[in-house]
C-alpha cells in the first residue's frame, strides 16, 4: 500500500537546499522553453518532448543523489540530464546535431548521455531505461559499491512488461534502486483513467514486495524528502522503493505549439499551473526567510546568460562529416 509522506514534509529546508532546487528547476525550464522555440522557428531539427511543469521531480530526486549515482531517463529526458549536472553547451549542440554535442550529433534530443555524471542515457523506448537501471544497480552490487541507480519513467511506462520484470528483479535481489514514476496523468494523449484501473501507481509496489510512496510532484522539497529516504534505504542494502510523483506537463506530449485536439480540460491545465513548482519554492523560500526575491532573480539571470552562450556555441559548432557515418557501429 502507498505510504503517506506528510511527516517528511516537515523537514526544515535550508537556504542552500532551496537555492539548489530552484537553480536546477530554473535551468530546466529555461532550457526547455528555449529549445522549444528554436524547434518551432525551424532553427533546430528534430522534435522535443518538453519537461516543463515536471521540474520538481528531477530537481528533488537529483538533489538526493550523489554524482556517482546512476540514472536512466526517458524520451522526456532533458530535465533529468540537466538536474544531474549536464551542461547546456553540449546539450544544445546535440539538439543542433553538432559534433560538440553529447552524442556528437548522433543521438539528438531523445538520447542525451553523460556518463561522467552517471547519466546513462535518455531512452526513446517507453520503459526501455528501467531494465538498464537494474543493470547499473547490479554493477554496484557486483563491485561492492554503495552507489544507487534511479530509473525515471512515466505513468504509461508502468503498463509495459519491462517495468514489471525490472521491479520484480530489483526487489527479489534487494538491488540498490529507486524507481521514480513521474505520473503526469497522460500516456501520450490517453488519460490515466483510461489506461489503468488504479488511481495510485505507488500501489503497484506491493505486488513486488517493495514500499510505494506517493509525493506531490510539484513540490521539490517534498520530492527531495521522500527521495532522500528511499536513496538511503537503497544505499544501505534495504532494497528498492517505488516513488510516484504526481505532476503535470504544461506543453503537449511533443513540441511547444499546443494541442491539435483538445484532450485536456483547460481548467485542469490552469489548476496545475497555479501550483507551479518554481513559484512554489520561491514563495516558500521568501516566506520562510531562507532566500530573497533578489536571490531568485539572480538565478534566473545567470541561467539566461548561460542559455545565450550555449545556443551561440552550438550554432557555431561544426557539423558531423558524413564520411564518419560508420564510426562506432561496432569495433572490429
Amino acid at each position: 500500500m502507498a505510504t503517506p509522506t506528510e511527516d517528511l514534509r516537515d523537514i526544515a529546508p535550508t537556504r542552500e537546499v532551496v537555492l539548489d532546487l530552484h537553480r536546477r528547476m530554473v535551468r530546466i525550464r529555461r532550457f526547455e522553453e528555449s529549445a522549444g522555440k528554436l524547434v518551432e522557428s525551424g532553427d533546430m531539427p528534430g522534435f522535443l518532448h518538453l519537461y516543463v511543469g515536471q521540474e520538481a521531480v528531477a530537481a528533488g530526486v537529483m538533489s538526493a543523489l550523489r554524482d556517482d549515482d546512476q540514472i536512466t531517463s526517458t524520451h522526456r529526458g532533458h530535465g533529468h540530464a540537466i538536474a544531474k549536472g549536464a551542461e547546456f553547451r553540449p546539450m544544445f549542440a546535440e539538439l543542433y546535431g553538432k559534433t560538440t554535442g553529447y552524442c556528437k550529433g548522433r543521438g539528438g534530443s531523445m538520447h542525451i548521455v553523460d556518463m561522467s555524471r552517471g547519466m546513462l542515457g535518455a531512452n526513446a523506448i517507453v520503459g526501455g531505461g528501467i531494465p538498464i537501471a537494474v543493470g547499473a544497480a547490479f554493477a554496484s552490487y557486483y563491485r561492492g559499491e554503495d552507489t544507487v541507480a534511479v530509473p525515471f519513467f512515466g505513468d504509461g511506462a508502468t503498463n509495459i512488461g519491462a517495468f514489471h520484470e525490472s521491479a520484480n528483479m530489483a526487489a527479489v535481489w534487494d538491488l540498490p534502486m529507486v524507481l521514480v514514476c513521474e505520473n503526469n496523468g497522460y500516456a501520450e494523449f490517453t488519460p490515466q483513467s483510461k489506461h489503468m484501473k488504479l488511481e495510485n501507481i505507488a500501489d503497484r509496489a506491493a505486488s513486488y514486495g517493495m514500499p510505494g510512496v506517493i509525493v506531490d510532484g510539484m513540490d521539490a522539497l517534498a520530492v527531495r524528502a521522500v527521495a532522500l529516504e528511499a536513496v538511503e534505504r537503497a544505499r544501505n542494502g534495504g532494497g528498492p522503493t517505488l516513488i510516484e510523483a504526481k505532476t503535470y506537463r504544461y506543453f503537449d506530449h511533443q513540441g511547444i505549439k499546443g494541442m491539435r485536439i483538445q484532450y485536456r480540460d483547460p481548467a485542469e491545465v490552469e489548476a496545475w499551473q497555479s501550483r507551479d513548482a518554481i513559484r512554489l519554492i520561491e514563495t516558500v523560500g521568501v516566506v520562510e526567510g531562507l532566500a530573497t526575491a533578489e536571490d531568485f532573480a539572480q538565478i534566473w539571470a545567470e541561467t539566461e546568460a548561460e542559455i545565450t552562450d550555449a545556443i551561440e556555441f552550438a550554432r557555431n559548432s561544426p557539423d558531423p562529416d558524413p564520411a564518419d557515418m560508420l564510426a562506432d557501429v561496432y569495433t572490429v
Binding site: 548522433r106 556518463m115 526501455g128 528501467i130 531494465p131 547490479f138 557486483y142 519491462a162 520484470e165
Partner: protein, 327 residues
C-alpha cells in the same frame, strides 16, 4: 591422441576459463546457476565462481538482457543466457534498440561488452517455438555481432572471443550439435569473430554452410569426393561481421556456389551472401548462386515433416549435382 570434447563441454570449458581470466565476467539467466542450464552449458560454474557471479533469474528476458546492458555500460562483462533462441523476441527491445545502438547513438561514449548466449536450430521435434534459426534478424541490426559455432573447437573459441569483445555478441549454439565430439585444446584460446573457416578445400564447387549445416555439407562433400567431385566447404562462423572475402575468394576458384542454412530461405542470410557474391564475383560465376534452406513455414513438429523441412546431406548433395549440371 588429441583430446576430444563434446560441443557443449567445449563451450562450458570456455566459460570456465574466461570467467577465471576476468573477474568482471558474470553469468545470469534462467536456471543457469543451480541447474547449470537446461543444456548443461553452464555446469559447474556456480560451484567454481559462486552466487555473485553466477545467478539464476526470474523468467524475465527483457530484464535479463537489460541488466546486461546496464552492467556492460558500467564496464562489466555480462553473459546473459536466453536458453532457446525463440525467446529472443521477448527481449528484442533490449537487444536491438538498446544494446545494439548505445555505442553509436551516444557518439561512442559507451562500450557494450555484452554477450548473449542461446541455442537455436531444429531437428529435435521441439516444434515452432523452440526450433528457430533467427540469425538473419540479428545480422540486420547494425551494432550486433552474431557467432554460430559449428564445431566443439569453435564453441569454445568463439565464446571466449565474444566475452572479450567490446560489442554486443550473440553466440548461437546449435541444440542438435551439443553431443558432437571434436578436438579441443585444453588451454584457453580464442577464435576471432568474423573470420570464416575453410572446412574442406576443393576446386569444383563452393558450399557456404551456416551452423549445423556445416556438418551436413561436410558429409555431402565426402560423398561427392568419392564420385570425383571436389567441394570446398566454408563455415563463415559469424553471420555478422560476415567474412565475405573468404567466400568470394573461393567462388573465384570454383565458379559455382551453394549456400545452405536451416533458417527460412526467404530473407535469410543466404540472400545477403548471394547478393554480395554476385556483386563482387559476378564474372567468375558459371551458374547462378544457389540456395538450400528451410521452406517458408514455421518449424513443424512431426519428425516426417521436420526432416523434410531442414536441409540434410542428401539434399545438399542433390543441390550440388544440379548446380554442376548448369552450363
Amino acid at each position: 591422441m588429441s583430446r576430444q570434447l563434446t560441443y557443449v563441454k567445449a563451450f562450458n570449458e570456455g566459460m570456465h576459463q574466461i570467467m577465471a581470466e576476468d573477474p568482471d565476467v558474470f553469468l545470469i539467466g534462467e536456471d543457469v546457476a543451480g541447474y547449470g542450464g537446461v543444456f548443461h552449458m553452464f555446469d559447474g560454474l556456480l560451484t567454481e565462481f559462486g552466487p555473485r557471479r553466477v545467478k539464476d533469474t526470474p523468467i524475465s528476458e527483457q530484464a535479463i538482457i537489460g541488466l546486461g546492458v546496464g552492467a556492460a555500460a558500467r564496464g562489466l562483462r555480462p553473459v546473459c543466457d536466453l536458453m532457446f533462441m525463440d525467446f529472443i523476441g521477448v527481449a528484442m527491445d533490449q537487444i536491438f534498440n538498446q544494446a545494439a545502438k548505445m555505442k553509436y547513438m551516444f557518439g561512442g561514449a559507451v562500450s557494450m561488452p555484452l554477450t548473449i548466449t542461446t541455442a537455436g536450430g531444429a531437428g529435435m521435434s521441439a516444434a515452432a517455438q523452440h526450433s528457430q534459426s533467427l540469425e538473419a534478424w540479428l545480422a540486420h541490426v547494425p551494432g550486433l555481432k552474431v557467432a554460430m559455432p559449428a564445431s566443439p573447437y569453435d564453441a569454445k573459441g568463439l565464446i571466449v572471443s565474444a566475452v572479450r569483445d567490446d560489442n554486443p555478441v550473440i553466440v548461437v549454439l546449435n541444440k542438435k550439435m551439443l553431443g558432437m565430439k571434436g578436438e579441443v585444446p585444453e588451454e584457453l584460446y580464442s577464435v576471432p569473430l568474423g573470420v570464416a573457416n575453410v572446412v574442406t578445400e576443393g576446386s569444383d564447387v563452393t558450399i557456404v554452410a551456416i551452423g549445423r549445416m556445416v556438418i551436413e555439407a561436410t558429409k555431402a562433400a565426402a560423398s561427392l569426393a568419392e564420385q570425383g567431385i571436389s567441394v570446398e566447404v566454408i563455415d563463415p562462423r559469424c553471420v555478422q561481421p560476415l567474412d565475405i572475402g573468404t567466400i568470394t575468394d573461393s567462388v573465384r576458384k570454383t565458379n559455382r556456389v551453394l549456400i545452405v542454412h536451416e533458417a527460412v530461405e526467404f530473407g535469410g542470410i543466404g540472400a545477403e551472401i548471394s547478393s554480395q557474391i554476385q556483386e563482387d564475383a559476378f564474372d567468375y560465376l558459371d551458374a547462378p548462386v544457389a540456395r538450400l534452406a528451410a521452406p517458408f513455414a514455421p518449424v513443424p513438429y512431426a519428425p516426417i515433416l521436420e526432416n523434410a523441412y531442414v536441409p540434410d546431406a542428401a539434399r545438399i548433395e542433390a543441390s550440388v549435382r544440379r548446380l554442376l549440371e548448369r552450363r
